[in-house]
């Protein structure tokens, strides 16, 4: 097996939300093309990790380092991270009244293209692209005529995240419980979306509580995050083990 290029290296990461330390020495390396699942009890710091990587204000790295494509990630603004190919699928997508979904998506895509020195998409090319993705995700155009996430059901919000994922086609996708709140059909559809971007060069971090998702999107690695650290890593069989035994039996290996 040839060693792929390293995308993300997290070393001894400590991070706080406000004054509270949540991540307490986390290590993780992600190579190009890999799918990593992160599991762990409620409140263990999974979303915090995702938010730190996306650059959410008020989430501060206090120790350690995060290197993305050879660069110190902490130096980049959230939009610069997105433009460099990082995507966060939110556990709780935010409602944005007054901002039309279609307008938002096009602005996002073109902002990223522009930052990368690519030509912006005109209305027609954009429509063509989005029609493709809507079909893949079995979504209706009427979604895009509404304000971003406003009045969307829980499942619809997650589909909307997946649509954005497919449109923006990031190098590193961090999907925070994109499977939560989905019915069985929707789970398959969302998985289809994720698998569509899963290619030789896309890396994916799946944060999830359920083995079920991993049946559809088979991970290369499974990690257990507990109390701000990764305490165990393994292959997909670890998820099956956890499903049977829970987190109780696991203790910090660090």
């Amino acid at each position: 097996m040839t060693q792929n290029k390293t995308i993300l290296t997290i070393k001894n990461l400590h991070a706080s939300v406000g004054d509270k330390e949540i991540l307490k020495g986390l290590n993780l390396t992600i190579n190009q093309g890999e799918v990593h699942a992160i599991m762990g009890p409620n409140g263990s710091g999974k979303s915090t990790l995702a938010n730190v990587l996306a650059g959410k204000p008020n989430y501060t790295m206090t120790k350690g380092s995060v290197t993305y494509l050879g660069k110190d990630l902490s130096k980049l603004e959230p939009e610069e991270r997105a433009q460099a190919g990082i995507f966060l699928g939110f556990q709780y997508p935010v409602e944005i009244p007054g901002v039309n979904s279609m307008y938002f998506l096009r602005a996002a895509l073109n902002a990223q293209r522009k930052a990368r020195g690519e030509e912006e998409l005109d209305g027609m090319d954009f429509m063509e692209l989005i029609e493709d993705k809507l079909e893949l995700l079995d979504m209706d155009m009427s979604f895009l005529k509404r304000a971003v996430n406003v009045g969307f059901s829980g499942g619809e919000k997650k589909r909307h995240e997946t649509l954005q994922l497919c449109m923006l086609n990031p190098l590193l996708a961090i999907l925070d419980e994109t499977d939560s709140g989905l019915d069985i059909d929707a789970l398959q559809i969302v998985s289809r979306g994720v698998n569509a971007i899963r290619g030789t060069d896309r890396s994916i971090v799946l944060i999830t509580h359920y083995q079920r998702l991993l049946d559809y999107i088979e991970p290369d690695f499974v990690h257990v995050l507990k109390d701000g650290k990764i305490i165990k890593s393994g292959d997909k069989t670890l998820a099956l083990e956890l499903e049977k035994q829970g987190y109780a039996g696991l203790t910090s290996a660090a």
Binding site: A54, G55, K56, P57, E77, P78, E79, R81, A82, Q83, F87, L88, F90, P93, V94, E95, I96, P97, G98, V99, F104, A107, A108, L109, A111, Q112, A115, A147, V148, Q164, L168
Partner: protein
């Protein structure tokens, strides 16, 4: 009376006296002079006696117009204005258009060949005879100082009459241009919409090109809506940033008639718009909406006073302000519900978005209710941009400035939907967009 209060009142009166003195030689247009008769002198007395409004009066408590009162204004001189100013400022391209330069009608820039049947429109200096004396007496008898000033120093205005049973298909737009030169124009307008008639009316208040123009547009508008009629009246206030804009719109709404007023506040150093509405018959309805984009050194005040004087009337009011830099936005609203006005259904909401630490918003929504079977609500909110929404947009690659602009635009855009006319909607949308792009207002 405290010394400070006394001093302020004295100053306000002195300034009114100074204003009157500087206009000592002023006479209205001959036709208006004849029409007004003794009213001119009486109104001048009233204005001097009352003085300019001060922050000591309740209705003006948040709005200090001393910067206006201190100006040395002159009567308007004839000024030339480029037609491009008009076409750029107008809300509705193909509207019947009357253009007033410093308060005087300019025929060359106006477009009235497409005047629909059943509509009479004329400058007040030509059409004043169409108003009967009783109406005139009632209208001109005022206890408000700026209205008195309006009568005393009347420049001109327009009179617009829609006959009964006419649905006016072509919108009508009045464009008022201030050219600066410290000119003060006092504009008086009369509008009457006949039984079951419908009209879309627009007013655009703007300036000829120089953004540093100093002038004052002081207008009073009287509107009567006959039974079953509908008037949608949109006012675009995009005066020069050093100019002053004061306006009072007084509307009486008949049985089953609906008045929809919209104010788009963009320009002016100080702008105050007061909507006084009387709902005096069953089914009378008023809808008042609007937004203010208040930037550096600007002050926008929107005041509404709605009288419910009959059973079964309704009102809906929503105003949103975006205040940036050192701007100051003010909303004052009152529903006054008389004992007879049972089943009144009235809602009022003012929402403010503050974009800077120095930005300020004052809000005073009020209810004064003497009937017991009514549904009235009022509220006000004040906040900054939603951090969660901002991060969401940025996490998708949209830079901070653009994301803030997008959220701010979203806050106002909803409101524009209250305007029916597609051209006006589009134009206001682009004005908002431009306002957000042009300076670092959002930063």
């Amino acid at each position: 009376m405290s010394n400070k209060r006394q001093a302020e009142l004295t100053a306000a009166k002195e300034m009114a006296q100074a204003y009157a003195d500087s206009f000592a030689g002023y006479a209205p247009l001959p036709a208006l002079s004849a029409w007004l008769g003794k009213q001119t002198a009486q109104a001048k007395d009233t204005f001097v006696k009352l003085g300019f409004p001060t922050t000591r009066t309740e209705e003006w408590c948040f709005t200090n117009i001393a910067p206006l009162a201190r100006q040395a204004f002159h009567a308007p001189q004839k000024q030339a204005v480029n037609g491009a100013v008009i076409s750029e400022a107008k809300l509705v391209k193909d509207a019947v258009t009357l253009v007033f330069i410093d308060g005087r009608l300019n025929y060359d820039l106006s477009e009235i060949t497409n005047l629909p049947n059943g509509v009479t429109i004329a400058p007040l200096s030509q059409g004043a005879g169409l108003l009967d004396d009783a109406k005139k007496a009632k209208i001109l008898n005022t206890t408000a100082s700026l209205e008195a000033a309006n009568t005393a120093f009347l420049t001109d205005g327009y009179i617009l009459i829609v006959a009964d049973g006419v649905t006016v298909k072509t919108p009508i737009e009045l464009v008022f241009v201030g050219t600066g030169n410290q000119s003060a124009s006092h504009i008086r307008n009369f509008i009457s919409v006949g039984k079951n008639s419908k009209l879309e009316l627009f007013e655009t208040w703007t300036s000829s090109n120089n953004p540093d123009n100093i002038y004052w547009h002081n207008s009073v508008c009287d509107i009567i809506l006959a039974d079953g009629s509908k008037l949608a009246f949109t006012r675009q206030q995009s005066e020069a940033l050093q100019a002053f804009h004061t306006a009072t719109v007084k509307t009486t709404v008949g049985k089953d008639a609906t008045f929809t007023g919209f104010i788009a506040n963009l320009g002016s150093k100080i702008a105050r718009t007061e909507w006084q509405t009387t709902l005096n018959n069953s089914g009378s309805r008023v809808e008042l909406y609007g937004f203010s984009l208040v930037g550096k050194g600007q002050h926008h005040n929107v005041t509404t006073h709605t009288n419910h004087t009959a059973p079964n009337t309704s009102a809906d009011q929503l105003f949103r302000n975006v205040v940036a830099d050192s701007g100051h936005g003010v909303f004052m609203g009152k529903y006054h519900v008389l004992p007879v006005a049972q089943q009144t259904d009235a809602a009022m909401l003012n929402q403010n978005l503050l974009l800077g630490k120095k930005a300020k918003a004052d809000s005073k929504p009020e209810l004064e209710i003497y009937a017991d079977d009514v549904k009235c609500s009022h509220g006000a909110t004040c906040g900054s941009l939603d951090e969660g929404a901002l991060f969401y947009l940025r996490s998708r690659g949209i830079d901070e400035m653009a994301a803030k602009a997008m959220l701010t635009e979203g806050f106002i855009d909803d409101l524009i939907l209250k305007i029916d006319n597609a051209q006006a909607k589009e134009l206001l949308h682009s004005r908002i967009h431009r306002w957000l792009q042009t300076t670092k207002r959002v930063g």
